[in-house]
Symmetry: C2
Subunit: 335 residues, 2 copies
């Protein structure tokens, strides 16, 4: 693809970061203040993950969703953005314990450095602190949105756990899982940003729809990238879902389109029956032959378009354009 | 001790349960409704622990603290009591993962039945749901009290983790640990009950002092019972702290009063250097010789007296008497 065409998209994250520079610096200060504790292990472990170069996508969505509607409510929006990042970080810490992951953001995961016990408890601490931040934001209705999202995320995580190594897990259950474990926090992040700026009702609903659809697109692209994406450029960090027996959308689609031999293959490799070294390459080959990567990315495009359409509720602005471009970028990073 | 003297105390819990019968039934209904989820593993695992015969001491304190000041605010108090029990249950689930416990409330612990991953995630769910309940109670200041308590509990748990197998852990650090991991929730449970009944300022502070001191007494008695209590009747469930290398008050006191040989013993057995079968009996013998069990129970009595004194802020009533007797009962169960 020509640089002239892709440039606006791939720079979407940078543009958003630029527009929110001051807010993000303020959120970073809040995050570092609120992860503080006289118990040294807490800030050490939290900083290890929080300062590891995450892109702060979720807090940016909260901040941008507020700024779409003017300058008011930004103090609350900053607290809420930090709260959203704490919820996300707590989830990552617990996820790594649940998945027994050894890597996160390209480094040894916290549970492998400090142990599972510390990761569980520091995750609990950050989760509790997220509610302290919400209390400071001072709006019970907003707090209810994030409390509800937190319940749904946990439900999604448990659903995913129960579906692990279930080679026959249906596609709609998978979509329900990512709706809960990923999209719910994106949706809440956008909704509470709009609410902090005084928006309620349909406007808040549409912003939540932006976040939810963006989150779904984001997750499906991640799923496709786990099998090398469209170009099957198998760099680092591929194959995690495969090894963990997580039936994501590409596998669910290929399984449904496959012949008896392929279905037997999927049942063996995803059903906890053991994997050989060549199985992952074979999986990628089947996924490509069945068009499952393309179909997954097309679904992601559909969600990204829905996300952009939902933004029409906000007045046109550089921020709105940046959020629209973010939706495109989320999908194009897999091309 | 003569039955005539002990009877009022040992019946304290029953009396309180009787006075709060309707409230407790309502709280139980809220708990069972709010632990519900379409993800079957969640209510199954939650019910396993919640219906295992816990005494609901913390929610009773919330309910009683509200009833001390009349009939108002009981709808909120019931939601808050359920929230407090959810926080407690989430903490137990995560504790058992952290401690790799195989037993809880006399049964195989949830993490040994469903695995650590499920215990972590269902704990997260219950913790999130506790905040949903607090939102329904509708008071941001009350929510702040429980959010703050949740942070402090997590800090206490991390402190305890960091102190594990540190045979030289000083007594004041141990007291800081139990103040955070145990007493903070008792304090918040009592405070939010009073707040639900419209009490603020000094009255709420005094109720929090009741809860905190009761929690400290409760924990110290537990610590003494883990070594058989005053009578050294070594039934089931003793020796957990010893095996886990947790330096509780009895050990800290005996270590400080001990000779060189005893200090070497404590360093070996609590320092992660391995334990032999006879070590626990030797530990109990040293603790008794050094008067460490008695001294721990005396400290517990002091906290129980402080708890009772704090209740003077409330008008005299059968409920206040029951709460006073609860403080006595907490200590006497170790006699």
């Amino acid at each position: 693809m020509a640089p002239a065409e892709t440039a606006p998209d791939v720079r979407a994250l940078d543009t958003l970061t630029g527009l929110l520079r001051e807010d993000l610096a303020a959120v970073d200060a809040i995050i570092h203040e609120r992860m503080g504790s006289s118990v040294g292990l807490i800030p050490n472990l939290a900083a290890y993950l929080i300062d590891a170069g995450g892109k702060r996508v979720r807090p940016m969505i909260t901040l941008a969703a507020a700024r779409l509607f003017g300058e008011s409510g930004m103090a609350a929006a900053r607290n809420l953005a930090a709260a959203v990042e704490f919820i996300h970080t707590a989830t990552l810490l617990h996820d790594d314990v649940v998945d027994e992951s050894a890597l996160r953001r390209g480094r040894t995961s916290a549970n492998f450095v400090w142990g599972n016990a510390a990761s569980v408890l520091v995750g609990d601490f950050l989760f509790a602190r997220s509610f302290n931040l919400m209390v400071d934001a001072g709006d019970l209705e907003i707090l209810g949105v994030l409390a509800q999202a937190s319940s749904i995320i946990a439900e999604g995580e448990v659903m995913q756990l129960a579906a692990m190594n279930d080679a026959d897990a249906p596609l709609d259950r998978y979509l329900a899982i990512i709706d809960a474990k990923t999209a719910a926090l994106f949706a809440a992040a956008a909704r509470v940003g709009a609410m902090a700026a005084g928006q309620r009702g349909d406007v808040a609903d549409r912003l939540a729809a932006y976040g939810r659809n963006l989150g779904l697109a984001f997750q499906l692209v991640d799923d496709a990238l786990d099998y090398g994406g469209r170009t099957a450029s198998l760099g680092k960090n591929v194959g995690d879902d495969f090894r963990e027996g997580k039936v994501t959308m590409p596998v669910a689609l290929a399984r449904e389109a496959g012949d008896a031999e392929e279905r037997a293959f999927w049942r063996r490799v995803m059903g906890g029956g053991g994997q050989t070294e060549s199985d992952f390459d074979r999986a990628v080959a089947i996924l490509r032959r069945r068009g499952a990567i393309d179909a997954t990315l097309e679904a992601a495009s559909g969600y990204a378009e829905a996300a952009k359409a939902a933004l029409a509720v906000a007045p046109p602005s550089a921020m709105r354009t940046a959020l629209e471009n973010l939706a495109d970028f989320v999908v194009r990073r897999a091309s």
